[in-house]
Symmetry: C2
Subunit: 252 residues, 2 copies
Amino acid sequence: MTYCVGLLLNDGLVFASDCRTNAGIDNIATYRKMKVFAKDGDRTLVFLSAGNLAVTQAALSLLEEGTRGKKAGNILKAPTMFQVARLAGEAFREVHRIDAEHLKKHNYDFNATLLLGGQIKGEAPRLFQIYAAGNFIEAMPDTPYFQIGETKYGKPVFDRLLKQSMSLAEAAKLTLISFDSTIRSNLSVGLPIDMMCYRRDTLVPGYQERFTEGHPYLAEIRRRWGEALRRSFEDIAPLPMNEAIPELESVR
Amino acid sequence: MTYCVGLLLNDGLVFASDCRTNAGIDNIATYRKMKVFAKDGDRTLVFLSAGNLAVTQAALSLLEEGTRGKKAGNILKAPTMFQVARLAGEAFREVHRIDAEHLKKHNYDFNATLLLGGQIKGEAPRLFQIYAAGNFIEAMPDTPYFQIGETKYGKPVFDRLLKQSMSLAEAAKLTLISFDSTIRSNLSVGLPIDMMCYRRDTLVPGYQERFTEGHPYLAEIRRRWGEALRRSFEDIAPLPMNEAIPELESVR
């Protein structure tokens, strides 16, 4: 599988993706799932991808060819993030037209999702999740984040701690904790983690880092979060059990 | 969905199950998913069920009828937990023979899982997970717990904190934290939580409790665990970001 996250904050956007690709557990490889398109001073666009790697790579290749004028739509010239999301949806639809029936013959689903976040001059930063069917949804203040891939293990920490008013650096920390929880519980998500923090209104790609095994900040998070959970757990009293009173019926 | 957990500890067994059943999100009900069979001084058997409620109820009804001598297998007389697990698997197979083709006509899967834990005099406590096909696996010291249903949200805290040497009261606390994380992140798992803690070699059902909204210990866990996570999170330094150095390639 895969795990990718996009956060829409007052200060900008945080993106992160793992790098594990597997076709069966005996065929594991490292692939970058984050792709950045930028025109400095005008726009920064970040894509994260999950699902069938051939499908998402083909869609992103179509978008990249579009930026070189070889196709109609050019995401570096589209006037709004909404129009960029439509072009990404159209790229999925074109790949579907070409590949879907062949995938079906081999019993593969046309299974793919993109996160798209970024900012175009004149708009606020925006974040979208684009489905394989080419339709999409946009993140709103009520739920200012999207996850794709193996989303469940790392969701509780966002549900408890994410605030749209967080600084990028705090949100990046939370994102790494969410990835750590996921990687510990699920083999199909693996290091390194690619991260990009885009600061609102800068219109250039911001902080970018690849967190590999042994990265000092990631190592600190792993150690300190684990210790803090253990301490927090020990600080709560154990369940007071009155074993004398079975309250529930049983078959005897 | 459902969320059920069984833990195999040196001191005994902890069981917990939520009570939400849904057939579509507009048809939600409260059902008990924990069933106890006991012969005091000889055995305590606890079943937790997930999946198609009609299937798991039918299987448990067959097992219960068996205890009244109306069918061949009697789980209150089986000599070992392994034999009890086989009888439970056979119950699934009988339900499958009767119902599966009809479910298929209505596009329903024969989807069901049971956890079975307990102790029979002369054996140590044991814990099994029984699949819809009637086969099963047993928990071992390397991974001394099973989850069924919506398992992913609540798995990270077990992976980080569960030890087989924990007291029942500590393990019960950890289990309630795992349920709280799951309930916060997934609507299909809901209160109340049924819990049973079986103490090794007692051969009678142990502490049993139904945790409803407002139960003082559950409320304390929810409040203190949330606060502790927030504090732990704040104690870790934010990601030090050097925004001047974009390290990753982008399409410009």
